[in-house]
Symmetry: C2
Subunit: 287 residues, 2 copies
């Protein structure tokens, strides 16, 4: 593939650019400047990008691969924008943390060209964000979830697999709805809960004292509360059903704990903690 | 001080022993074997302890400093046990994560000898536990909260300060109730929520798949869910009032988030995340 066009040169889009350049995977890596977004010119100077798109319709037409790596709320508009100029050889992928809504938008906006779209979610990230957060090796040995559908063009799917593998990823395929339920539980809920934890402290009248004594447990726990508010606002709304369901289940777990404490049920409380402790210990052995 | 007697040779008690030996702070470091606890003989062989207590009443009598580093539910019984043999020169300290209940027990059990007790809480720990988890430098530059009261003997308080400083700690003093409220929010609640998070996954019917896709966010977030179930069961019950109050407040934060998601209130949702993100980022700069 010759030309790579990236919408959303942030942590993920920028890391795709960096790694592609390092491995000389494309002749040209072009970034799309977002209105009001971080200025991209310095990322041309440092070689992350070959150029910033000047004539977007031309660059869409010439692209072999288009990566949409913006916050998920912007994906639909971008799909709408690329549709008229999209050549039949071009592959379009996204990198969003939600998949049902994105597959839905792709079907709606790309119409008869939907077969050219391969939904992707690299399980790689950081609480850091923006193009300055981009790094090489971000995708090395990381799972890349693809959500192909019956209509997906098989050779385009194959090339997408190869693209992600060239970046270092490990391909897994999944149904979009299953994807959203799984990542609600293991990723979206931990992020929301981390935000809740910091806000619990924020709304107290001794926030500074509390933060003074917050130690390593809080440090690790709250790391993901440093994540991009815009990205996580979009994800929360895009994966609404699964997230609201999991938040309800989470409150049930808290209530279970509260009741055991209220009733001084130390046997059941220790058992409840023990279940979690054993699962976490087994998990960490393998991860 | 010549003789150090340690009840509870685990992560904290063991690390106190190791560091004291390394810095030759005592002539003798003696560990008390707990019925059914980890056998301590190998920790005499490796020099962490000089001996295991054989005649406990004698060792109590001879001790210059007694450290009670067991899970907090056992502290009262140990105070009761040491009282009859406790010489007037001996300092007694604990290392518990809750302070109001321990100060109360100390008053009750040590009676006229209560002035010899200095409540201590080193803000140092790990999700690892037991004597094999003990390490040197555990207390280096870590806050050590002391909760002296009006009755506390001032020279014994001073010697306790010096003891913790010799171990590398930074002394802060606090009212026991204030301590318990602060550590409910910044330590106890994060631990409970981490246990809740893992149990949310445990009670789903696709636990293995979920754990397969859990990534670095979950890893950091759940680290403290590997903590000792016994220790945390004790802390939960010992700091009941503050913890139940904070769990209620936490549920309110979750409900706030749920409602913003339900109402598609993306402006308020992003703002809510932004408050947390900014606080976390400022905090991490200083920590």
């Amino acid at each position: 593939m010759k030309n790579l066009l990236i919408f959303g040169v942030g942590l993920i889009g920028g890391s795709i650019a960096l790694e592609s350049q390092k491995k000389r995977m494309f002749n040209q890596v072009i970034g799309v400047q977002r209105d009001g977004g971080t200025a991209l010119s310095s990322f041309v100077s440092n070689g992350m990008l070959d150029k910033i798109s000047k004539n977007l319709n031309d660059d869409i037409k010439q692209a072999d691969l288009i990566v949409i790596a913006t916050p998920v709320a912007q994906v639909q508009n971008i799909l709408k924008k690329i549709y008229p100029s999209l050549s039949s050889r071009t592959i379009v992928i996204d990198v969003g943390s939600t998949k049902s809504n994105i597959m839905h938008f792709a079907k709606e906006e790309l119409k008869e060209k939907f077969s050219q779209f391969v939904g992707s979610h690299p399980i790689a990230g950081s609480e850091k964000h923006g193009p300055t957060a981009a790094i090489v090796n971000l995708f090395k040995n990381k799972d890349i979830i693809l959500t192909p559908e019956a209509e997906t063009d098989s050779s385009k799917l194959e090339m997408t697999v190869r693209f992600w593998e060239d970046l270092g990823g490990i391909i897994k395929t999944m149904d979009p709805l299953e994807h959203d339920q799984i990542f609600s539980t293991v990723s979206h809920i931990p992020h929301l809960i981390a935000y809740n934890m910091v806000n619990l402290i924020a709304q107290k009248n001794n926030t500074d004292t509390l933060l003074e004594f917050a130690a390593s447990g809080f440090k690790d726990f709250s790391r993901i509360a440093g994540s991009s508010p815009e990205v996580w606002k979009d994800i929360s709304l895009a994966n609404k059903t699964a997230i609201l369901n999991d938040l309800d289940l989470f409150i049930k777990e808290i209530n279970k704990t509260s009741n055991l404490i209220k009733n001084n049920d130390y046997v059941a409380l220790e058992k409840y903690f023990d279940v979690a402790s054993k699962i976490r210990k087994n998990w960490i052995k393998k991860n």
